[in-house]
Symmetry: C2
Subunit: 351 residues, 2 copies
């Protein structure tokens, strides 16, 4: 059985060596379930390859600590190996170091100062519909009830608050086909996107401060397509844009903004995910920030914290891994950083 | 054996009914060769499915009359049928009506007032490298020697002089990739094509008069492509442009013009064919125009007359078919127009 009380760096190496590529997490989920079930102070639930363990101490506040069990595909980087302070291997940084910290807390802090819900879930590295949090929110929303959530994704030991939202839209221009030898009989749709690009070039991205953190938006073309044949004036051209928006806007407000920017053009939304407010001004989050220390920063990319935000739970990213190493063949994590994370979390749950 | 002296409308129907889709012209080429060889005043040559017949009367001037034997694929529109004045069927307009006029002239004008080279060739409706004129110009250039050429393509009985040239170029913009959540770390290549489109929109197409005919140029985007993924700032975008240029420019001058229009951008030429001057101010061409009558007009699309022009032979399009019906399932030709073409050509060769 997995010894959850061992040194947190050694525990990380132990679970890194249990392969758990997305869709193939069973062995690790079984080991986690077994080890947590042995802890008498925890009530353990299982759903698919997701394991949830909760304390029920009647504390006035409940916090959720989450980590995904899955990794991107192994790239000849297992088993793990240690070089000096660094532990190398698939999933070390993203995010088994964070999972190990959470597992050790679950086993070694039987009487935390707030009730804790530990969530170890599957299929984070793949399509949203396979993500276990999607299923849990639908089928077992009560398991996820909490006042605050910490997602132990790699942040280099810094609290990253909330996350920016993202939406994609196709901005379309129509024209009229004609033979290019008589181009004046047609209307060139590719020429017609000039003002779309002019608006993108003139666009000034906002950098709003939300709950004390500065975000940085962006509105960009990520694709353009048009053309029928080398001798035909094209009758259609589409610019695909991606808007990354700060958490002071809802998804609907962000869509409205994009419609305004491209007023006069046909705009069709193809994809969207809401932003999440950092919520660090809430007392429950402020207490976490005070205990962990450091200067929180805004999360610009989209992460699962937005799923908690959608459930009404303020959430932050905080973990020992380096986010820049995620998904890389040479992925590693600092053993010192893992221990620092453990200490910071202990200070929060036992302080 | 094909009776070349019959009514020219009936002769047209006869050769329309000998299927001759590009690459499959042998039966028709055999029939044409046999019928022309029976004419004692003609010297007949054969190369592949191309048949050439020449008079050698020692006239001071030699003219070339050409037509392609092939058609686009049959579309349930054979055999031919007559409705009133109209002959329906695959290849009626493009261009067996013109071929029939040339065949009848070859048989019935044994002593034309200028020496004549009749050229019936294959593979005009397909890629340039398969076009028989490409092969003839390389292997039998002496067969094509002439002072003037008439290509009996469908022009509705109007002389169409020369033809515009065409070239294609890729105008490229480079950028720098970045995650779209941190777009300011990249350089967006799609945004970078705005000035390319601005130059196209501001472009004023020339309408120069060349040898008395007004041409109408055009410079247009015919394709645009860019984009890596929905969350990536793209590092490359390419606008494909097509320049249709009047015959007062060589292909090299046209390329130079496009380079100037897009100065500062990377321009790569992908395709090009020179224009052909109408040459109607040459006495030999003027005599043709005077005999045939009507008001010549400029040819805006590219045709095989440019091949003759490249060989130093002034050339025009002139034929009984309606160019707007070419390649259509319901293709037809007016029997009256075929007879008028025959009369006009007779007036030229016997006048």
């Amino acid at each position: 059985m997995l010894d959850l009380t061992q040194d947190v760096g050694a525990l990380t190496a132990r679970i890194v060596d249990i392969e758990s590529v997305s869709g193939d997490e069973r062995a690790l989920a079984d080991a986690v379930e077994e080890a947590l079930t042995a802890q008498k102070h925890l009530k353990v639930e299982r759903s698919g390859e997701t394991v949830i363990a909760r304390t029920f101490l009647g504390r006035p506040e409940r916090v959720l600590i989450a980590g995904h069990l899955d990794t991107v595909p192994v790239a000849d980087n297992l088993p793990s190996r240690v070089e000096g302070d660094l532990l190398y291997g698939c999933g070390t940084s993203d995010m088994k170091a964070g999972v190990a910290v959470a597992l050790k807390l679950a086993a070694t802090v039987p009487e935390p100062n707030r009730d804790v819900t530990y969530v170890f879930y599957d299929c984070e590295e793949v399509e949203a519909e396979r993500n276990a949090l999607t299923r849990l929110a639908r089928d077992h929303a009560e398991w996820l009830h909490a006042d605050f959530a910490v997602l132990m994704e790699p942040t280099d030991g810094v609290i990253e608050g909330g996350c920016q939202g993202t939406l994609r839209a196709d901005v379309s221009v129509s024209g009229k086909r004609a033979h290019s030898a008589r181009s004046w009989l047609g209307v060139n749709a590719i020429h017609g996107i000039e003002p779309v690009l002019a608006r993108l070039n003139a666009y000034e991205a906002r950098r709003p401060v939300v709950d004390g953190l500065e975000y940085h938006e962006g509105l960009n073309a990520v694709g353009v397509r048009g053309g029928v044949a080398g001798n035909v004036i094209p009758d259609a051209c589409v610019v695909s844009v991606n808007y990354r928006f700060a958490p002071d806007l809802s998804l609907e407000q962000a869509e409205e903004h994009v419609r305004e920017v491209f007023a006069g053009f046909e705009v069709a939304f193809t994809d969207g995910a809401p932003a999440a407010r950092p919520g660090l001004t809430d007392p429950v989050a402020a207490a976490f920030a005070a205990a962990v220390g450091g200067t929180p920063r805004a999360k610009l990319g989209w992460t699962d914290v937005a799923r908690f935000s959608t459930l009404g739970i303020p959430a932050v990213n905080y973990g020992p891994g380096d986010p820049n190493l995620a998904h890389q063949q040479g992925e590693y994590v600092s053993l010192t950083k893992i221990a620092e994370s453990e200490s910071a979390m202990l200070a929060w749950l036992k302080g």
